[in-house]
Amino acid sequence: MNLKLATKSINDQASLIGLEGEVDVYTAPQLKQQIIALLDGGVKHVIVDLSSVEYLDSTALGVLIGGLKRLRERSGTLDLVCPNPRIKRIFEITGLDKIFDIFATDLDAIAKVQ
């Protein structure tokens, strides 16, 4: 019934936001604020790790799409880590798996931005 965020820096241009819990209309604003804070700090590559997310709704998708747009505007990237098939399915049925790079592990996602 809650969302925990843990952000770690990969290098001066890249950060990973680890999410745990439910990302919905109540908690998605926290994710949005965190992405904006990273953008304000000059980060160009954001990885959102959904490995420990057990619920994700359209509000969360909206925040991720918004983050992707903002990052692309500055030639950056927003990639996802999503090993959970149930969560990944939400991206697949909405066709959003075509606009996000979705990795099975955080190491794969980090390798891309390093």
Partner: protein
């Protein structure tokens, strides 16, 4: 309202606020888990009902309604689950039209509901807006 001849009904009313949508999701999870749905179908129902409540919450926010309420009525029929999500805010243009900043979420929420249940309908009622969904097991 429950009768031995009618389908059993579970009715939940929550404030139309972001922090209560999770309560509705837990309730519908309990209802759907008791039926003949697969684990994936239960997840679909949970997400669809969550989306319906989320659009109601956004509608109340846009209309500046502070005493908004959402009533989620689940009819547990032998061969299907009917869920009605009724709020007390009238449909605005924004529910159908493409409007400013809410577009992504609005569009995706409606898309998800369409995809996750077998029947899906949004209509204006004298009280506000009613979203009806039907899911069949299997």
């Amino acid at each position: 309202m429950t009768d031995t001849m009618e389908a059993p009904v579970v009715e939940l009313t929550i404030p139309s606020k972001p922090e209560y949508v999770g309560v509705a999701r837990l309730t519908i999870l309990g209802v759907a888990s008791r039926m003949q749905f697969t684990y994936d179908e239960v997840e679909d129902i949970r997400l669809a009902v969550g989306e319906a409540c989320t659009t109601a919450v956004e509608r109340a926010k846009r209309a500046n309604v502070s005493d908004g309420e959402i009533t989620i009525t689940s009819e547990i029929a032998a061969d299907k689950l009917i869920v009605k999500v009724q709020d007390n805010v009238q449909c605005t243009d924004a529910d159908s039209e493409e409007s400013a900043s809410d577009l992504d979420e609005q569009g995706l929420g409606a898309l998800l509901m369409e995809l996750l249940v077998d029947e899906f309908k949004v209509e204006s009622t004298p009280e506000g807006t009613l979203v009806s969904m039907v899911k069949y097991p299997g």
